[in-house]
Symmetry: D2
Subunit: 106 residues, 4 copies
């Protein structure tokens, strides 16, 4: 992996994990459902952001190498298969989710 992408992906995933810890506490504390729902959507958005960066890294490295070596059909099939499970980018407004540590009031 490109070091800068790896570092960003790891930071985002660890932030998403902290956010998920916070949401688990909210469910244990029976916080009002719509608040929990918004936070869970924000966790999904954070994971999706990391997923898109994995895609960029793959395009910039393995896909570029394979295409330069004439293995376009094989690498495109593989990429389309990975994208088959991709739920798409964050829903509208997720960036506005409160940027509290772990995304949830401690």
């Amino acid at each position: 992996m490109k070091p800068q992408h790896q570092a960003t992906v790891l930071r985002r995933l660890k932030n998403a994990r902290g956010h998920l810890d916070g949401v688990i506490r909210m469910v244990e504390d029976e916080v009002y459902c719509p608040e929990v729902m918004k936070q869970l959507s924000a966790v999904q958005g954070a994971v999706q952001g990391a997923n898109r960066l994995m895609l960029r890294n793959h395009l910039e490295t393995c896909v570029a190498e394979a295409m330069a070596a004439g293995r376009t059909a094989e690498i495109v099939d593989e990429l389309m298969e990975a994208l088959r499970f991709d739920p798409g980018p964050p829903a509208v407004g997720l960036e506005a989710a409160p940027d509290v540590e772990g995304g949830v009031p401690a």
Copy 2:
């Protein structure tokens, strides 16, 4: 919250957190990008499943009470706002994601 929904949501979120731990290890170990991308999509699917159960719980409890008390407009506005951030159900095939502990080969 209805106890059975709370228990299921907590179990799914803790499973998703374990899955996320596994994916963080994969990124640290520089596992091939498309494999990481599929696992991240599966984490999103698991969080989405929990989010939908929160929605069901909300409908069965607070929304039902509010509608019985004639506060339909207020509770619907609130619910539509929460759904604005909802990225939709798991993408095709996510159920097929390996149901390994934490979703990722240890």
Copy 3:
């Protein structure tokens, strides 16, 4: 249906159809793929907006009536089934899609 919701849904769906007509012309004219991809995402966003308004209408009418009559479990099961197919709200930025008649340069 509530007349105001019905009128808005119909207007949005007819706009989406005009937009789809424009994208079909783009594909016939072999317009550059990324441009077509953005326009198709905008069509999906428009259809999703109409879908969310159908949900609001359902909550404000049939769901409210069923809950007031004590048929909460039945109406919630039905609603969760319909939402199972719901791909979630428009992706980030779709509102910024050019608001050209039908969404595509004539």
Copy 4:
């Protein structure tokens, strides 16, 4: 565009358009909301399928040419921008949507 991809995309988009026509009739006839919601999700799934095929075509043609010519950074930036609006693949179960002409009982 590759002729076979162009033909498939056009067929899918024209089918989605026919499906949308059918859903507009359903809304005009005030068909039960959850039925309309499922059909709208199926239209989104069909448009998404065409969108994914546009992506495949782009990868197999313009992206491959650009990468072979050493313009990887530029073509990846452009592709990630187009995917920013992509709402992800069809939700679970959309393939099961009734394959009635235009996807809706005439």
